[in-house]
């Protein structure tokens, strides 16, 4: 494959897509699939055939459109009409409406693309989501795919690439927020012939599905981002560590890798350059702690996924003791646009210390459930009230939880806080990987804290004492509270133990396990006190 061939595929695919005047795009990502998207797409295919419209209408299966709470969704071009909650009964009406001569009855509810849900978003990571067929590499190439890899391999030095990423100000999207450019530079500087790049797709936070949607909707973007990263740090072997709970994402990644290999976009001497690169998929087996990078490495090596003390950091001694770069799915997804538009462009979006956009999985008691991508600095109020359309059933927001079991709650009176790494940390929560769960007036914060502690005690690997035994005791104390059997002494003990587990645990899981308790204690102490036994 060379650039001419790549551009030829791009041109050809674009032309092919424009041949038919109408295009119906059906979301076939997991969310919509579980609402029956597959049969909707099949019926559409059949109906088009029966109406002899094959020459005029193209039905395309695409990735996530974002508004997952109202699936199955379809979008019809060129008018860009969006339909929600499509059922099989709606199909004839949709077909009739295609020729626009009359508005037909029985159409599914129509989505408003000018609604704040769409209007307030800025798509970088999800620019191709819901637009291209994730199973077809040509579709990705039509959108300019793999051109940045070509540009990097033939026109940039590894150092140039790292400089561009550093300039962009991109920070790790997995939760920690470590500057990506610095991480890359560290791995690049390490001596040694053998280095690895790993994509962390072990998205384990309950209530988060950003990475899954990206992998299901635009898998080649991750492959291209990883290849660019490998070139920059001097690696030639990559691994994608993905949780087994995402079978569709695994299938699409496998297919994408096959296609990239066939086109020579993966393998040896890519674009006739000296750069070789291959990617293997490693499937997890259900362990939240494997999102921690040293545990992830142990799991890739086929061992129990237990973390080890750092230093040495994976950048120095990672997979099989070699220097290893680990980034999360969303981080890699940002690389192609950064190279294409430049680091300065990326740095112009967002706030001073948090650049670019962030994808959130907006769920819980909220009107518009789904995936959103907003510029850093957007206020949580905008996300909840405008984009999310407010709380379900006219309820009121009590708190918004971010960061999953490692994060905390933002109470209603602080909703004007912008989403940024630092501002969230100041409130005692974290950006995390992007789960955002809205809780209404009926939610008991102590029960939520107990829910997360139950999660942590179950997911603790058991290696270090504070996390293994401490989370069990914390869970018991919270249960005592929920059952109204706790005393002031128990509450004091709860606080002391939270601090101890936070300060002394070996890895991130234990260190952050008490956060949901600490943060709810900070903002909703009354609730805890009201549950105490009167003595």
């Amino acid at each position: 494959m060379n650039l001419e061939e790549l551009l030829a595929i791009q041109k050809e695919t674009k032309q092919k897509r424009q041949q038919k005047p109408k295009q119906i795009r059906c979301c076939i990502a997991s969310g919509c699939l579980s609402c029956g998207a597959e049969s909707v797409k099949k019926s559409l295919d059949n109906a088009i055939k029966e109406a002899h419209l094959e020459q005029e209408v193209e039905v395309l299966g695409v990735g996530c459109m974002g508004i997952c709470g109202r699936g199955p969704s379809i979008e019809i071009d060129p008018e860009t009409t969006l339909y929600h909650n499509v059922t099989l009964e709606n199909i004839p009406a949709i077909i009739t409406s295609l020729n626009q001569t009359k508005t037909s009855e029985n159409l599914p509810p129509q989505g408003d693309l000018n609604h704040p849900f769409f209007a307030y978003q800025k798509l970088i990571v999800r620019e191709n989501s819901g637009k291209i067929d994730p199973d077809n590499i040509d579709d990705y190439i039509a959108e300019g795919g793999y051109q940045q890899l070509h540009h990097v391999l033939l026109e940039m030095t590894p150092n140039d690439v790292i400089k561009e990423v550093t300039k962009s100000g991109l920070r790790g999207r997995g939760g920690g927020g470590y500057p990506t450019g610095v991480k890359w530079a560290t791995v690049a500087k390490m001596p040694g012939q053998q280095k690895y790049v790993i994509c962390n797709a072990d998205e384990g936070d309950p209530g988060a599905f950003m990475d899954r949607a990206v992998l299901e909707s635009d898998p080649h973007r991750i492959l291209e981002g990883m290849a660019i990263a490998a070139y920059a740090v001097g690696a030639n072997h990559g691994y994608i560590y993905i949780r087994a709970e995402y079978p569709l994402a695994i299938k699409r990644l496998e297919k994408a890798i096959q296609q990239a290999k066939r086109y020579g976009l993966m393998g040896s001497q890519i674009f006739d350059s000296p750069f070789d690169f291959k990617i293997d998929i490693r499937v997890g087996a259900g362990a939240f702690v494997c999102g921690e990078e040293t545990a992830l490495i142990a799991s890739v090596e086929g061992k129990r996924g237990t973390p080890r003390p750092r230093p040495p950091y994976p950048a120095e001694s990672g997979l099989w003791g070699d220097p290893t770069l680990i980034n999360n799915v969303e981080t890699y997804a940002n690389i192609v646009p950064i190279i294409r538009e430049g680091g300065d462009w990326y740095a112009s979006i967002g706030t001073e210390n948090s650049k670019g956009t962030k994808v959130f999985a907006l769920t819980g008691k909220i009107e518009n459930n789904g995936l959103i991508e907003v510029p850093m600095g957007t206020s949580i109020r905008t996300i909840v009230e405008e984009i999310g359309g407010g709380v379900l059933d006219q309820g009121t927001v009590k708190a918004v939880q971010t960061g999953g079991p490692s994060g905390g709650c933002i109470p209603a009176h602080l909703l004007d806080t912008p989403v940024e790494y630092d501002s969230l940390q100041k409130l005692g929560t974290i950006m995390g990987s992007g789960g955002m769960i809205v809780m209404d007036q009926d939610t008991s914060m102590v029960e939520i804290a107990r829910f997360y502690m139950d999660f942590c005690q179950e997911e603790s690997c058991g290696k270090c004492i504070p996390c293994r035994a401490g989370t069990v005791q914390l869970y018991d104390l919270l249960t005592k509270l929920v059952e109204r059997k706790a005393t002031q002494q128990d509450l004091d003990q709860l606080e002391a133990l939270c601090q101890m587990v936070k300060d002394t645990s070996l890895c991130g899981l234990g260190m952050t396990a008490p956060n949901p308790v600490i943060s709810t204690l900070q903002y909703f102490r009354d609730e805890y006190v009201s549950l105490l036994q009167v003595t």
Binding site: S30, G31, L33, S34, C35, I67, C68, G69, G71, E203, G204, D205, P206, G207, A208, F209, R212, A244, E245, Y246, R282, V283, G284, A285, G286, A287, F288, S299, V300, E301, G302, K303, R304, G305, T306, A361, T363, G364, K365, N369, G370, L371, Q401, G404, G435, I437, M439, T443, I448, F451, Y452, F455, E458, E459, C461
Partner: protein, 173 residues
């Protein structure tokens, strides 16, 4: 070293070879008997056998030249590996935060009461296994329940119990 003959090891020529062990053997060969492929191989073994019985674990350990305790340690570390046979049908209730906030705990409680078993257990008649999951990533359609591998969204205790009753009555999904 181990000298014990395994009850379910592929038999010598002339005898019928358990097809499931053949699948396992092919998978291990494809992975070049690499020790770091243990998790992939266990996935495949569970797929073929339904669960990881001790004989299978022992067989894998020998083939990959891994200590028995190491293989057992890995197999019991990960939630998705099961060392016990599961029921004919499985019902997985998602307890991810989004589902929890929308009442999946109540669905699970109703199921536990109806079936008389706890999450992670199988009914005495080996018909139904009840499990809970930590987020299926289907938060948009919370609360989600998986019936025999099929994710369904926006569930309530009532319609989940109905589904289960169907299983119990017809033994069919």
């Amino acid at each position: 070293m181990e000298t014990k003959t395994l009850t379910k090891q592929p038999q010598k020529s002339g005898q019928k070879v358990d097809k499931r062990f053949k699948i396992l053997e092919v998978t291990m060969k494809r992975n070049h008997y690499r020790q770091d492929a243990l998790i992939e191989i266990l996935h495949k073994a569970q797929e073929a056998f339904g669960y990881l019985e001790p004989d299978v674990l022992e067989y894998v350990a020998h083939a990959l030249k891994l200590p028995l305790s190491r293989v057992y340690g890995v197999a019991t570390f990960y939630h998705l590996f099961s060392l016990k046979p599961s029921g004919k049908h499985t019902c997985v209730v998602c307890l991810g935060t989004a589902c929890y906030v929308k009442g999946s705990d109540k669905i699970l409680a109703a199921l536990q009461q109806e079936l008389g078993i706890k999450s992670g257990e199988t009914t005495a008649d080996k018909q139904i296994s009840l499990l809970s999951a930590r987020c299926l990533g289907a938060c948009g359609i919370a609360p989600a329940v998986v019936f025999d591998g099929e994710v369904t969204g926006k569930q309530t205790a009532e319609n989940v119990l109905e589904k289960i009753k169907n299983w119990q009555q017809h033994g069919e999904p």
